[in-house]
């Protein structure tokens, strides 16, 4: 924009010309121009909507107390600067009384909560920062009251009130920083309080979602969140499921499509039949998990609490010693002020919330991408991880058996496939899905089959087109007396040795085709492992599968170190060995069949959604197809740990330094309180830096997973890769 045009532009708030260079800010997505920062803030105040909450009442108390305390301060400063000497000395007692009148409400308004906290702590047999503040403010106030009654001159109402104002301000800042950390989590946490519009005949009514039972009909308007899991029975729309599954693209929803609680209905109104409501939905489970994680204390937090708890009595003794020491040199009230400064400056407020705030921010950041952690401590141990062991099936592979090739003996490939698909339509075996999918992807119609019987562990047989058809293991075929052509038998042996699953298909008493399956590598496995290695992590593969299959997958994913044919116990031994060799180790699995192994690792990571089973064993649960998020999670964990450690180092150092100053009598209690409020602010700002941390850049990998085609081995002339 050219200069003259800007000069003529008006401030969005006060409507005056913005002059030379205006201030550009994007507010709620709209680019606005202001004449100064004050107007920018004022505009935001007028735009938004406040809410009368618990925090507002704290704010009003704080504001009114600040009003009184500032007046106390003003009058006190006038008294100190000699405003009431000489001719006006007669006014002094009245001024003192005025100070008492102004200061006393502050003691009740702001001192009350601190006193309550201190009392609770004392009854539990410990001392905390609230005790220090209560002691300091109470001592200053009571001393001043006694002095007032005795007609003395040394009043410290200003110290008592300002102490309380500054410490409450510190607490308020901490509270809004917390609220800010939680702001983006609000949709995740509000699952329990959802309301739904119920349709019963022609009547629509609002009801709490947790009271609904499966089968009820719920109307969801565009822009609303689905309050329940269900199936669409009417309407067409798109849904944004990012909150629950981490899927960032909008998904089309038409009649019959499943919708999940917590996702947003984007376009059109939908009528949904409830399949699952209340606490049973995945949304509610995530909500509960996040709340639990936020409510738990991490090991660092516990350690800091212990240190702070032990420090407080020491500080009280130090303060008492300081008063006694200075009393020999200066009058009691001055000695007491030095003691108060010691009490105030040693207050471990910043220490108290440094670890918690950064941990909450990290948990919140991860949860928004569907990554759930057990508690803040997981972030700390994750940051210290030196090695990661991966499970194979379902973790670095898709865990779905894919038809990799067909070899036939004297019949056409399609002829074999239609029969196989016809049989397997009736089966629930994990290979069956792959056969049916392969047939439909080639546009083949499965041949109808009847009298279908499945023989567990062996195969399936039935009648197709009047002839008996069977699909299963080679051993079973021989047991049935069906002949296997030598070429196919040799091929089957070779394939089985390389780790593939092989199905023999035959009809009319002879095996006529081999179908072999393999598990496809997740398309994001390779890049993820590469990214982890760049972060200095040692990678290994632990699997119960055959060495041949493990070697193939490890090579494809770029893993050099692999251990195959391990029983769950052997996996645990292997983990212990790796831990001795490399340090803290994480185990990544699907959480279903490797629960004990996940528990044995320093951090157990489950990929594949929030199944309850996975949650029990895993410390960190990644969303389905969320393996590519792992490097990002690691970055966030390391960020959180660094933030916590720098905050703690700062708060400890600052407190110690200020303690030295205070004990040597160089610090006024008020300056000390100001320093503590500043320290809290610095810890808050340091923690909030985490909000600007990196976002996962590798989300694209998940979108490609459905279309990926891994390489297929097809050696023989008659084999047809699918």
């Amino acid at each position: 924009m050219t200069a003259p045009a800007t000069e003529r532009a008006l401030c969005r708030h006060c409507l005056l010309p913005v002059g030379g260079r205006g201030m550009r800010r994007t507010i709620d997505g709209a680019a606005e121009l202001f004449c100064c920062y004050g107007c920018c803030l004022a505009y935001q105040v007028r735009q938004g909507h406040g809410e009368e909450s618990e925090a507002t009442w704290l704010l009003i108390r704080l504001g009114v107390s600040a009003f009184l305390a500032m007046n106390v301060m003003t009058v006190s400063l006038l008294v100190y600067s000699g405003g009431f000497e000489g001719a006006d000395a007669g006014l002094l007692p009245w001024v003192h009384l005025l100070l008492w009148v102004l200061a006393t409400p502050v003691l009740f308004l702001l001192g009350g909560p601190f006193l309550g906290d201190a009392w609770r702590q004392v009854r539990q047999g410990r001392l905390g920062s609230a005790s220090l503040i209560t002691l300091a403010a109470g001592a200053a106030y009571l001393y001043s009251c006694v002095s007032l009654l005795a007609g003395g001159d040394h009043l410290y109402f200003d110290t008592a009130t300002m102490l309380l104002v500054l410490f409450t301000l510190g607490r308020y800042l901490e509270a809004i920083a917390r609220a800010r950390a939680m702001r983006n989590l609000a949709p995740l946490l509000e699952a329990e309080g959802q309301w739904a519009t119920i349709v019963e005949g022609a009547v629509e009514s609002r009801r709490a979602a947790c009271e609904l039972s499966p089968g009820a009909l719920v109307r969801v308007r565009p822009g609303e969140r689905f309050p329940v899991d269900g199936l669409v029975v009417e309407g067409e729309s798109q849904a944004d499921e990012a909150l629950v599954t981490g899927e960032s693209r909008p998904l089309a929803k038409s009649v019959g499509a499943p919708v999940i609680a917590g996702s947003i209905n984007l376009d059109g109104p939908l009528l949904v039949r409830v399949t699952c409501a209340g606490a049973a939905t995945r949304w509610a489970r995530i909500s509960r998990a996040v709340r639990d994680a936020l409510g738990r204390k991490s090991p660092i937090q516990n350690a800091v609490d212990r240190v702070a708890g032990a420090a407080v009595p020491v500080v009280v003794l130090l303060a008492a010693a300081t008063v006694l020491f200075w009393w020999r040199v200066v009058p009691l009230d001055q000695a007491m002020m030095v003691g108060l400064a010691v009490l105030v400056v040693a207050c471990p407020c910043g220490l108290g919330f440094a670890a918690g705030l950064a941990g909450s921010l990290g948990i919140a950041k991860l949860a928004r991408r569907g990554c759930l952690v057990r508690d803040g401590g997981v972030l700390e141990s994750l940051a210290a991880i030196r090695a990661i062991a991966f499970d194979k099936t379902g973790t670095i592979t898709l865990g779905r058996m894919r038809l990799a090739g067909i070899e036939t003996d004297g019949v056409a490939t399609d002829e074999a496939l239609v029969r196989a698909a016809g049989l397997e339509l009736h089966a629930e075996h994990r290979l069956a899905e792959g056969i049916v999918a392969a047939a439909s992807s080639r546009g083949l119609t499965p041949m109808p089959a009847d009298q279908v019987r499945a023989v567990p562990g062996r195969g399936i047989h039935g009648i197709c087109g009047g002839a008996p058809v069977a699909a299963g293991t080679g051993v079973w075929m021989r047991a049935r007396g069906w002949q296997i052509p030598p070429r196919l038998a040799a091929r089957a042996e070779a394939l089985e040795a390389s780790g593939c699953s092989v199905v023999h298909l035959g009809w009319d008493g002879q095996v006529r085709a081999l179908l072999w399956f393999d598990d496809a590598l997740r398309p994001d496995s390779g890049p993820t492992i590469e990214a982890l290695r760049r972060r200095g992590i040692m990678i290994t593969l632990l699997t119960g599968d055959l060495p041949a299959a493990a070697r193939r997958m490890a090579a494809a994913a770029g893993i050099d170190d692999w251990h195959a044919a391990l029983s769950p116990e052997a996996k645990q031994d292997q983990l212990a060995q790796l831990r001795r060799a490399h340090g803290a180790i994480a185990m990544v699995g699907d959480g279903l069949n490797d629960g004990p192994v996940l528990t044995a690792a320093d951090v157990g990571i489950a990929v594949g959604g929030a199944t309850d089973l996975a949650r029990e064993a895993a410390d960190l649960v990644l969303p389905e197809d969320g393996l590519s998020l792992l490097p990002w999670v690691l970055t966030i964990a390391r960020d959180a740990r660094r933030t916590i450690l720098t905050s703690l180092a700062w708060a400890f150092g600052y407190n110690l330094f200020a303690l030295g100053l205070a004990m040597s009598g160089l610090l006024q209690p008020l300056v000390a309180a100001g320093m503590m409020a500043a320290s809290s602010l610095i810890v808050v700002l340091n923690s909030l830096r985490m909000e600007h941390g990196p976002e996962p850049e590798a989300m694209v990998g998940t979108a490609a997973s459905q279309n990926a085609r891994p390489p297929v081995s097809s050696g023989a002339s008659a084999s047809a890769p699918i």
Binding site: V18, G19, A42, V45, A55, G63, V75, L77, G83
Partner: protein
Amino acid sequence: MTYYLLVFLAGLAGSFHCVGMCGGFACALGTDAHGRVASVARHLLYNAGRAATYMFLGILAGSFGGVICAADGNILPALDGPLGSGQRVLTILAGGLMIVMALQILGLLQRFHGAMIGFGGQALVGAMRNLLAARGAAAPVALGVVNGFLPCPLVYAFVAQAAGTAHPLTGLLTMAAFALGTFPAMLLMGGIGRMLQPMWRRRGVRFAGGLILLLGLITIARGIVPIDVHGLHLAQQDAPALAPELAQ
């Protein structure tokens, strides 16, 4: 006394600026359901809160200036008689700062942007929003107190002036005079509930900027010219008598 009158006038003229920036809050405070008296009380409370913050800033700035001058070994009653060298430097600095602020208000200098860190600004915004929405009778006081801390070139100009006076009492009185100057317009805003035409406000803001510029120049002149500026003479004995009333 003339000096405070001048500051009062500058505050009065400065209200053209206040009306643009903070007038909206006075309008939003609106009327009280308990009748006219309650409404007036509401607005008085809001303005009292604002004034308390200004006066607090004034006495802090004055004390700060005093401490700086005391380091020089000269503890001189402010605005009266020849100035010590420390106070002279301070006066020139304060005057310079006022001129910078005046030029900003006149739009001749780039405005200060983002003087506060983002989190501080957001905390202020959130606090004022909630206080505006609160119905408690004490909320307007709290709103006024927080409003006083909103970054504003006008306030900064007078805080600089207060620091230049190098004494807690004179610093307090400077800011008190300024606060009183802004009262009529802000109280009126609460009553009529709508803004002046931008055209008129623009002229008013220019007038205010000019007056602050003039004050800045006078302040600098006091620092440079080693004579007693008679027109700005403050009778020393007036001051203490004023203090108790102001404090209440």
